[in-house]
Amino acid sequence: MNPVLFAIALVFGILFFAAFVIWIERRFLALVQERYGPNRVGPLGLVQVIADIIKILTKENWIPPFADKGVFVIAPMIIMVTVLASFAVIPLGPGIVASDLDVGLLFFLAMSSLAVYSVALAGWASNSKFALLGGIRAVGQMVSYEVFMGISLLGVVLQTGSFSLVAIIEAQRRLWFCVPQFVGFVVFFIAGLAETRRIPFDLPEAESELVAGYHTEYSGFKFAMFYLGEYVGITLISSMIVVLFFGGWLGPWLPPFLWFVVKTLFFVVVFVLIRGSLPRPRYDQLIGFGWKLMFPLALANLVATGGIVLALAR
């Protein structure tokens, strides 16, 4: 297939999937919360997201007069670009990957680090107190959680001996990494929650405290980019969990691509369930949890894995 066509298909496929994730979240969360959720537009409310997109695209492109206009517009684009770019290295099935980079994992980490800029700049450029507080929180949180997110993945890299995501999946033919790398999985999952700024790590946008945090001043399509970016982010983290710890496309009976989608959807639902059940910690508790518990845990996992790999190699 023509690589350009493939890339375009991938981007639209992911956006379509993210829209589907929005539907899943709204319906599933409603189920958890004894409500119906959107069930009027199309069968089972499936077309609701499309209706919302049409609505949001036809809204006024409003920039608050007190905002830093250029940065204000660029900020939401950054998140879309970085999150979508990360998908370039994720193998959706044998041979179905935009670019099997040798350093695929590093590329993913680099892109997720860049995403911090989006939130920080949005909070800063809005020139509003709530947005500023949200932006500051976001930077503190994401920088802290990024550290051990990277470390938690090194166990997988040590076991595989490669940064390539395809190689990592191939290495799981005998045993999925969620068993030997269980600690790494837990740490990465939590860091992933923080990366996507979901409850219980939604402090940057904490509705009950900061109104909407860093995107308080955003509306229309610029807001939609943050909103869609969040769901593309959830899809990204879910598929990364599947790739790194749950054997990617590997699995019996079903076609590989379908396996990948089913596994990813499973983690999307787990994300939704967590959102439906947990409260939000305070900022200092959040940072304390990260540095005092998650960080040592990730380090210990790295040292232990390194030791075992070294011992087995001899």
Binding site: A206, S208, L278, P279, R280, R282, D284
Partner: protein
Amino acid sequence: MAEHSEVLRELEGRFGTGTIQVQETKDGMPTAWVSSEQLREVLGHLKTSSGGSYPLLYDLTAIDERNRKHREGQPPSDFTVVYQLQSFERNEELRIKVALQGERPSAPSVTGIWKNANFYEREVYDMFGLGFEGHPNLSRILMPPWWEGHPLRKEHPARGTELGPFVMDEAEQERQLEMLRFRPEDWGMKSQAEGHEYFFVNIGPQHPSAHGVLRVVAQMDGEVVVDLVPEIGFHHRGAEKMGERQSWHTFIPYTDRIDYLAGSMNNFPYLLSVEKLAGIEVPPRGKVIRILMAELFRVISHLVYYGTFSQDVGQMSPVFYMFNDREKGFDIVEAITGGRMHPGWFRIGGVAMDLPEGWDSMVRGFIKYMRRRLKDYDAAIMRNRLFQARTKGIGALSLDEAIEWGATGHFLRACGLEWDLRKKRPYGGYETFEFDIPTASHGDSYDRLLIHVEEMHQSLRIMEQCLANMPAGPYKSDHPLAVPPRKDGTMQDIETLINHFLGVSWGPVIPAGEASVTVEATKGNNSYYLVSDGGTTSYRTRIRTPCFAHVQMTPVMSRGLTISDLVVILGSVDYVLADVDR
């Protein structure tokens, strides 16, 4: 003067006879007039005296006496400032009055004695135009700063149509907006300290966690709240002024909307006061129906508190569960009364109608259902470690602080004081019910929630007893002043016909006098202080609501904590802005 209560005799003994003048009231509360020179001395003595002190300033209000006819045995006064004090040791309340003469007289401020007098004195200034010498910031509190006149003065019009047409041009809008601007200096705050600048965050009146139109201005140092100014009045409807215009009967539905989450519970103190003035005794069935409705509304109101509190802490789902439960409660309210949130169901002398067929199975089903749900919520919220980490130790108050700031209800119980008026001073038939008073010991946000949860269990218990022991008989008194009056004898004797005609056309004429009854409402103690001048409307309706005092306390609880904690504290107070502003 042998029948004087103990405290008044003690006062006379200390300050000498002649300094205080005793007044008889319909509610039997000891009431004494004190000169304004001696006021501070007397109140200070009452607050601190050993052996039966009155540590809590329960209410501070005023009466415009200039048009009042029935003032037998009272000293001459144009404006009377009324202080209502509460003693826990004596289990008694005390009313102290100060007579003021002139068009815009002043009284000494008691903010030096009780901290919570601050808001109350501002309210009296705002409503009556009275001054308070020594008040730190005597400014308008409920009315907007550009308002002309003082609404509760008798010469102030009561209807919008009497005020002339409303005009708002751009210049006026600018002027009003400018007046709303927050100036830290007005509140004794600095915008800068050594080496750094504070920034001020305006939270509300439109904010997801303001729970209504509360405006809180926080002085922030990073994420830390240095100081706080709560600003109220955005929800003011002039309920007390309406009380002077509506007949005794037609004011009932207005009371429903004071604490709009607690529906019938609001009718309770109002009608108990009216019945005290009129000398009406409610028949047993009427009493139990009232208690059933009041406790049902307590559960309904607490559910909203529980859900929104957990939402403030960041939990998304409980609020939906609890609104569903509340809906089940409203189903019962609807079956019994036909209304839902504001049924306006109590009547002078009883309730509006008898219970419908099948009410008992509905209530029984609700009790069973709620017990199961409350168990689930314990697991999801109360035992959730993240939730505990966010609420334990946050917004803690000592018992002394709580009393100093005029806190009542769950605040006192959360601080460990076993105090519930339903038990301590049973009203409206509560003496026949068995229930416990829950208490906690830390006085923090978590404990306040704990008290609410336990109260729901106790309310369900009371409702169960209502089910088991619903007396037979009439649901409304046949007293001639009960409304609507009885009709069965109207075709036989002229007396009943006249009573019925007057009661229906004018509304009942309640005998002159003063009465105030306090109830343990859902959010603290609520009372209606009614002054009748022997007419078809009340001469003065004072609504003492718990939330007014509690909102005033928020700065004490939140100083030095973060903005996230502030949200938790606001959630834990359990206030409703309609109840604060009236």
